[in-house]
């Protein structure tokens, strides 16, 4: 059964507001695919277009290579798991799971067999006769999954289904969802603003911002080779150093960091950079290492402003002596023990990094992380957003 989903130049407008810029994308059958982005980026709108709740202003949607334009919600081979789960509170667990079969006219005996089988799949055997109001948060989650699977969808759409759970349960359900996806082989399209969820579960992730897909890649590529400044800042943590490109030799680029002197890094995958361009160098906190002040290679000297012990690592908040910019440095267990004496507020340290780990991207100024809340602030529209067409 082909559960592939293809968006062909889909555009969604609400009045003057464009929620989804022209987007083309193919999601493979049986893939665990996530849309990751801050709230308001258009990811839920895309999900509603696939499910049929919204009709795109332009473009076509194909499910299993068949166009679904004009096919209403209740005839599409998709099933949705809602953010608030939307279990029917007046019904038992059995009745909830069997609802989709009941409205299709499936007989009572066959319905019960299906729901028993699905309850076993989500490890809720024996809970069928219970009222859904009697269940715990995690159990409700499982019933919602079973209810969606009962209609044998080709595509399961999940709209931030774990956001209501506490941290422990959320982590547990991540593993569970992945297992269920593998067992059933159904295409999962997962919407989240939580990069942890997207990175741990997905085969591929589409990072979205302001109605535009910024990058589509597997989680590791997304983390190691962000295609835009937005992705670099949104996925994981990154230090962003503004600079100007001096010259380029293959992937390796030399930069003029202004007060910071000469910097080096690697050109981002598929980005065009010209000599003299304003660029941004992204160095992750864990890629910075203490080095001798006269060591070879790129050096950044900073004064420690705060030291946060995080168990497995230590996070340093430093201010660069040359430019006054902030630089966050994460030291692993071994390194932090080795430098234990120097890790105090007011101390100056010099940090180096491997240029292969530092990504240079055009400075689109698109994404800034709010330092107090950790939320994305989009100061300018993402002019540098890549137009993604992936197979």
């Amino acid at each position: 059964m082909d559960g592939s989903v293809r968006l062909d130049e889909v555009v969604m407008r609400f009045g003057d507001f464009t929620a989804i810029e022209k987007t083309s994308l193919t999601i493979g059958s049986g893939e665990f695919f996530s849309f990751l982005g801050p709230s308001g980026c258009g990811k839920t709108t895309l999900l509603n277009i696939v499910s049929g709740f919204l009709v795109p202003s332009q473009g076509q949607v194909f499910i299993g290579e068949e166009p679904v334009a004009g096919v209403p919600v209740n005839r599409r081979p998709t099933a949705m798991i809602f953010q608030n789960l939307a279990l029917f509170p007046l019904m038992t667990v059995f009745e909830n799971i069997e609802f989709g079969l009941e409205v299709r006219g499936v007989g009572k005996k066959q319905r019960r067999e299906t729901s028993e089988r699905l309850l076993a799949l989500v490890a809720l055997e024996g809970s069928g006769p219970k009222q859904v109001t009697e269940l715990s948060g995690g159990q409700k989650q499982r019933v919602a999954i079973a209810r969606a699977l009962a209609v044998e969808p080709r595509v399961l759409l999940l709209d931030e289904p774990l956001s209501a759970l506490d941290l422990k349960l959320r982590q547990h359900m991540r593993a569970e969802l992945k297992t269920i996806q593998r067992k059933t082989g159904i295409t999962f399209i997962y919407i989240t603003h939580d990069q942890g969820e997207a990175l741990t579960m997905s085969d591929r992730v589409a990072v979205m911002s302001a109605g535009r897909i910024q990058q589509v890649a597997d989680p590791m590529t997304l983390y190691r080779s962000p295609a835009t400044g937005f992705v670099a800042a949104f996925v994981g943590e990154n230090n962003r150093l503004e600079s100007r490109l001096v010259d380029r030799e293959g992937q390796r680029v030399r930069l003029d960091g202004g007060a910071l002197g000469e910097l080096v890094g690697s050109a981002g995958e598929g980005v065009s950079l010209g000599n003299g361009d304003r660029v941004a160098l992204y160095v992750r906190p864990e890629h910075l290492k203490p080095v001798a002040a006269d060591a070879a290679g790129p050096r950044l000297e900073g004064e420690i402003e705060a030291v946060h012990f995080e168990g497995a690592s230590v996070m340093l908040e430093t201010r660069l002596t040359a430019s006054g910019e902030k630089l966050r440095v994460q030291l692993g267990h071994e390194v932090s023990r080795q430098y234990a004496d120097s890790l105090s507020v007011g101390q100056r340290m010099t940090f180096g990094y491997d240029p292969a780990d530092a990504v240079v991207l055009p400075d689109d100024g698109s994404a800034v992380v709010d330092e107090t809340t950790g939320e994305m602030v989009e100061s300018r529209t993402a002019a540098g957003g890549a137009h993604v067409s992936s197979a």
Binding site: N74, A86, F88, A148, V151
Partner: protein
């Protein structure tokens, strides 16, 4: 006496006065049932009797009127409840600027004096050759009782989580299946209450009914006419019976509600 105790005393005094005001007339009315006097009064007390119950039972006109009231009330129930539900559902989906206007239009019979509704119903239907009677009474009363039903259903509808509807459609239900299996069960408590209110509103209505009832008589109209021709304590006997029936029904409802609540709490405790 401290001001706090004064407040507490004042509050208690107020509650007592309030209940006396509320129930003393009913008590006097009930007591008058058993007074062996030609007039419904407790002074002078002419001896205790049960004969007014007998008189009541023998009053054929009264029974006829009671039967008519019941027929009208059932008719209003059947007409006003579906109209009220449909209106509530419709208003809930309308999102245009016309909504406040439509809302006001539907509520206007509630704000119009019942007399006017009665007269206008009569005048309107006379154009089509329909004269006063039970049929017109049902129509006249339903115009404003449907608005009560609409209000009660709307109140519950506004708390309905629309994602339930989306979930049902997403799982393959048609609009009708969604309505029957999800929305209607959810609205049921409001519909039942609205039904009870509609029935009672119809049963006790006088001012609209008076104009449209024609040669027929409902209970309220019958009692009012008796006031003119001479009231006997038989009317008090009827009042007492109606009060007792109402109180018994209220107690039965409360007992049922508490039992269901206990079941629910036990279920939630996971016992």
């Amino acid at each position: 006496m401290s001001s706090q105790r004064l407040m507490a005393f004042g509050l208690r005094f107020y509650v007592v006065v309030f209940f006396v005001y509320l129930f003393l007339p009913l008590l006097i009315m009930a007591a008058a049932t058993f007074n062996d006097s030609r007039f419904p009064t407790v002074t002078p007390w002419d001896g205790t009797t049960l004969r007014w119950f007998g008189e009541l039972a023998a009053d054929g006109g009264m029974w006829q009127a009671l039967g008519n009231s019941a027929i009208v009330a059932v008719g209003v129930l059947c007409l006003a409840v579906p109209i009220g539900i449909a209106t509530a559902l419709f208003l809930n989906t309308v999102s245009s600027r016309a909504k406040p206007f439509l809302y006001a239009l539907i509520l206007s019979p509630l704000l119009t004096p019942g007399v006017i509704i009665g007269i206008s119903t009569l005048i309107f239907w006379r154009q089509f050759g329909v004269s006063g009677g039970i049929f017109l009474t049902v129509l006249g009363q339903a115009t404003f009782i449907a608005a009560y039903v609409m209000l009660m259903v709307t109140a519950r509808l506004q708390r309905f989580d629309r994602t339930m509807e989306r979930a049902a459609l997403d799982l393959g239900a048609s609009q009708w299946q969604m309505f029957r299996r999800i929305l209607l069960p959810y609205l049921k408590p409001a519909i039942y209450s609205a039904g009870v209110i509609a029935f009672l509103q119809s049963f006790e209505n006088y001012n609209t009914t008076l104009f449209v009832v024609g040669y027929d008589t409902t209970l309220t109209v019958y009692i009012a006419s008796k006031v003119r021709t001479g009231l006997t304590p038989a009317v008090n006997a009827l009042g007492l019976i109606l009060i007792l029936v109402t109180v018994l029904l209220a107690i039965a409802y409360e007992v049922k509600r508490r039992r269901e609540e206990a079941v629910r709490i036990r279920a939630q405790a996971g016992v």
